[in-house]
Amino acid sequence: MSEVTLDGVSKRFGATQAVSDLSLTVDDGAFVVLLGPTGAGKTTTLRLVAGLERPEVGRVRIAGRDVTRESPAQRDVAFVFQQYSLYPHMSVFDNLAFPLRSPARPTPEGTIVQKVNEVAELLRISDKLEQRVTKLSGGQMQRVAIGRALVRSPSIYLMDEPLSSLDAKLRAELRIELKRIQGELGATILYVTHDQMEAMTLGSKVGVIENGRLAQVGTPRQVYENPRSIYVAARLGSPPINLVPRAMFPEIDMPESTITVGARTEHAHISKANGRRASGRVTWVEHLGDQDHLHVDLGEHDFVTLADPDSALVPGDDVAVALTDPLFFNAAGERVRA
């Protein structure tokens, strides 16, 4: 295992600048998650580390060695894709053993058996080793795909939305498994997703990607609590942060350059007006399965917070909305400090 560094890397496809001047260090044993929407450049970044793409500018280093010009095989990385491409005619065992039987890495059969058994145990698929992979469920197949990366001990595991083809329940289970396995192995992982829940729960660090640039990197808590821009603030949080013009809250003392006030559930205190001046009206309580969202019509803005399960607020209620320590942003969308 070892540290991976991207140093001022850029990559262009025709007219599209996929990655611009991106610098990032993945520490040895870290679980770094790149979060961004489709087309932000996160998969390209991963492919640059893998050696599946070459940057026009910048360097890629693994354990201090410059690998920018090396082939994927020379780089000693393992890649897990979104679609598990397993060999359908082989058993689970043979699929897992495949990377070790490659002519590039001659491995004694005894070692292979030992390694496959270890990984199968880690992934809790020991009882499936003799089965054809086509007999497995989606979750089990994805475990085998991850296992195929784990049988090797590469310097870094690169994972491109490996859980996204699974349903919600399975995704939640495998998320916990993956985190456990990473901890047990002390593995270094660079993981790409558009799912903020995955990013927050898996990552020891989260890097938010915006138009090929790294907008911010930090622990999930740092990025969530101290976003550097509106873009970053809006990528994390469910329900998303409310962004309202400063004029909505004349009573708040805020920096001169503030244009937009950002308020999450934890910044807002919403209570029945009861004769006080009402700032809005509850329009609906949206039931989403895992949480309820409270919608307040606030001077034509739909102000959404996580509903308190004990709250007695119902649609039609006039409410006062008070903010404590909200976030402030200037005209460029950058955070300004109070």
């Binding site: 469920s137 939305e161 083809s165 329940k169 927050m200 729960t201 969530y224 999450r264 989403l288």
Partner: protein
Amino acid sequence: MAEIRVERLHKSFQGFVAVQNSSFVVEDRSFFVMLGPSGCGKTTTLRMIAGLELPTDGRILLDGKDVTFKRASERDIAFVFQLFALYPHMNVRRNIGFPLVSMRMKRADVSARVEEAARILRITELLDRPVSGLSGGDRQRVALGRAIVRRPMAFLMDEPLGALDSELREVMCGELRGLHDRLKATTVYVTHDQTEAMSLGDKIAVMSNGMIEQMGAPREIYDRPSSVFVADFIGSPPMNLLTFNDSLEPGRGSVRVGQAEVGIPAPREAMAGRDLVLGVRPEHVRLNDGARLRGEVLGTEYLGTTQIVTVTTTNGVVKARLPSTLKASIGDSVGLEFRPDRISLFDAGSGRAIRTALYDHVQATEPAHV
């Protein structure tokens, strides 16, 4: 548009029972979701409604007419599959118009209908493009266009978003619901994904082993699961289930879980000492140092506004959704408190929900047998 009525539907394949005695009504203009794990019989049920499979027993009525043994082509239903099979050599316009051309509709009418479908799906600018260059989402929109253009009495959809990546799936989910709100076409939708079911369905039928476990509005199923299976299948994380042994009697407002007396909604039936299951949603769990029900913090997952704290107790694992400002560290000994009026109780043996004040307005009839 039409109502779909399914009566005592049954299907077995060489001794294997795929669908058992299933009855339900899909109301006109509603969005009905069949939700369950693979092998639960949801796709088989859908295929019988479509006429792609014949039932072993039972009836299917479409707009009041018995279509049980009618061919698929005689049912005036449009089927949307998971893998959208488009004709690669045709452009978008010809792909969408194809069902009408094969019905020998006049060219001018076909053209008008295709334009209309494209407008509804907001893909007008794609009409003259070849389908080969389209993104996954646009291909799925074209497949939907081919269903819409026929103006069928009902749409049947078998995991239509299953092949898309998860980000696109969320987008298409919103589009499908928007499309339904505009067209108000009777739709039966099959999925194993509870998030899709919750956000799309007017009504959800949760299926397991060929039977409908529960049928109702998303909120109803979430708040008042009729069995342990449903409680565990719905929710993210799902409902916490704690096993204990006690008696129930109408009027007694608590049960004994381990060392603790836990408040519950008033039971409406009596049960002598037996194994029971207490169900509580993660958002209805609080940490309270004074509480008698105790456990140890196994882990925390930071989610921003909230965190999921996992606590092990002698009666089972409890996941609590708590404000992330609350400090909880691995290994802490904590007391657990549940919101009494939102607790579900189940009989451990049969898995069925026990009637309590929480379930008062739920109809007593078994939903699977209308």
